[in-house]
């Protein structure tokens, strides 16, 4: 592949769509470029579970012929996309990252996949994830996903392949699903942009569920502009998901003004200055908050004392629901689960109902605290994760004490789950790199259905920081050439 092809692969989807419309790039060129990159890099990165090579090339040829006739399907005409393998795709294997679903081929597309196809996008493949989107997988049945910035490190989860594919430019755009941070964490670890929309903003029809009151599909992309573009196409009421909102879909791309003037931003002190937050992460996030002030925002610290409890509260609610859903398979096919998933689900099945009920009430308290702060501020700002991507080996080792279990499973989740528990939108956008070259993510949390403010601030920061043009050193990091 030439440097020109690599440049095309890393170009944002919005720009690619414009190039296709100007007939300076063809859909076949785009699909071919990504297939070549997948062949070259994904043997090591393992972002994909299924690559739809033949159908993508055929769709690209059709899109090219349609373009020649001036027949445009929509804003993503001829643009390749890939989705987390938790989302149903008609006639294409959909495993949810589990060996239990190794032969599952849905008859119909999930709503979000159907909407992207209707906009002219071409399905390139299905992306790797932690088993059943739960996190904590020890042995991935479809290959160990690896961080493009350092393959010995975790890419984050549960939308692991979506984060990898966006950051390593293995397709134009990706979709993930975020219950407690599953879009934002891989975005943070991989140096991509990951948006969790307001709960109910995007249809979950055809998405294997984790926790009904928190599951939300969102884009993982290389730029904030692409996230805004994708959200505008997948958002909106869906009769097949009765919990979607009928609120009007905003002009998200139109909200990207390049500035942050007039926005009031509260910096969550418990997360930025918390004992778990590593020094390099704190420094990068504080630097970003100063950068947003330079862009016109009014920035000050805010205290949300219940936020450190969010991780445990989230896991009690999410995991107990998952344990109920998996009870039949756990009893009959336990050996087919990954060991990490099985331990997580069995544990959750043993949590007393009284404790789960306490967690449900605590969730309401946390939500009210987040919403009260969002009454004063337009946005809340925090690190997406207290640390950069950990080494894969460090988080697959056995847990040897309850203290270690608490620190490992609850601590980092308290950074992303406040937005999940409150049902509000949140984005992770790169805000720096560690001295070891691993990305650091900045999280911006907004009011319900105020994605425009979230995207506007993230876009302004992204452009000012100039980090979106940085590419992972794939060859130097050990990926095969």
């Amino acid at each position: 592949m030439s440097a020109v092809d690599d440049d095309l692969a890393f170009t944002g989807a919005a720009r690619q769509a414009a190039l296709v419309r100007e007939k300076r790039v063809s859909p076949v060129e785009l699909v071919t470029a990504y297939l070549e990159r997948i062949e070259r890099l994904d043997g090591r990165l393992r972002a994909f579970i299924t690559v739809c090579r033949e159908s993508a090339l055929a769709a690209a040829a059709r899109a090219e012929a349609e373009a020649a006739r001036g027949n445009w399907r929509g804003p993503l005409h001829g643009i390749p996309f890939a989705v987390k393998d938790q989302l149903d795709t008609a006639g294409v294997l959909t495993t949810a990252g589990s060996a239990l679903l190794r032969t599952n081929i849905p008859a119909a597309d999930s709503t979000v996949v159907a909407r992207l196809k209707a906009a002219g996008a071409i399905l390139l493949g299905k992306l790797n994830l932690t088993e059943f989107a739960l996190g904590g997988t020890i042995r991935f049945p479809y290959g160990q996903p690896r961080n493009p910035w350092n393959p010995e490190h975790d890419p984050g989860g549960s939308s692991s392949g979506s984060g990898i594919a966006a950051a390593a430019a293995l397709c134009s755009i990706t979709l993930g699903e975020d219950t407690g941070g599953s879009v934002r964490s891989p975005a943070s670890y991989c140096g991509a942009v990951g948006l969790r929309p307001t709960w109910g903003r995007v249809s979950r029809h055809g998405c294997f569920p984790a926790a009904w009151s928190m599951d939300q599909v969102g884009p993982l992309t290389r730029t904030v502009e692409d996230a805004a573009l994708v959200l505008g196409l997948i958002a909106g009421y869906d009769a097949k998901d009765p919990l979607t909102s009928r609120a009007a879909v905003a002009d998200y791309c139109g909200a990207l003004t390049g500035g942050a003037t007039g926005l009031r931003i509260g910096v969550i002190a418990e997360l930025v200055d918390g004992a778990d937050t590593q020094m390099q992460v704190r420094a990068a996030v504080r630097e970003a908050s100063r950068g947003l002030a330079d862009l016109g925002a009014a920035v000050e610290d805010v205290s949300l004392p219940l936020v450190p409890l969010a991780g445990a509260v989230f896991m009690a609610l999410c995991d107990s629901e998952a344990a109920g859903r998996h009870k039949g398979w756990l009893s009959e096919r336990a050996e087919e689960y990954d060991q990490g998933t099985r331990r997580r689900l069995v544990t959750a099945g043993l949590i007393p109902a009284v404790a789960v009920h306490r967690a449900a009430r605590a969730r309401a308290l946390i939500r009210e605290q987040v919403l009260e702060a969002l009454g004063k501020f337009d946005l809340l700002l925090a690190p997406t994760s207290p640390h950069p991507a950990p080494a894969i080996a460090s988080h697959t080792a056995p847990v040897t004490s309850k203290e270690e279990a608490g620190a490992r499973f609850f601590g980092r989740r308290s950074y992303t789950t406040p937005a999940s528990l409150a049902g509000v939108p949140a984005i992770s956008v790169p805000c720096g790199f560690t001295s070891g070259g691993l990305p650091i993510g900045l999280q911006l949390i907004g009011r319900p259905f105020a994605e425009c403010a979230v995207l506007r601030a993230a876009d302004a920061w992204e452009k000012a920081a100039g980090l979106a043009s940085r590419r992972p050193p794939l060859a130097a990091a050990g990926a095969p050439l």
């Binding site: 896991m315 544990t347 099945g349 309850k402």
Partner: protein, 61 residues
């Protein structure tokens, strides 16, 4: 509250038909005890002041 022992966890799981292998038992006990500690700490909060609604009704202030 005293931590649950490995034997407690095995009996509890057996009563609920949940599979606990020899390899899994110790880690499940650690995870469950971590949950019980974390959730017991919630008793210090004014939990009775709120209803356990998973979401706010759309359109509510």
């Amino acid at each position: 509250m005293a931590d649950l022992t490995l034997e407690d966890v095995r009996r509890l799981a057996a009563s609920l038909s949940l599979p606990v292998t020899r390899d899994d038992a110790a880690e499940i006990a650690h995870r469950l005890n971590a949950f019980l500690d974390a959730l017991a700490a919630l008793d210090a909060l004014p939990l009775e002041q709120v209803e356990p609604l998973p979401t706010r009704p759309e359109g509510s202030a």
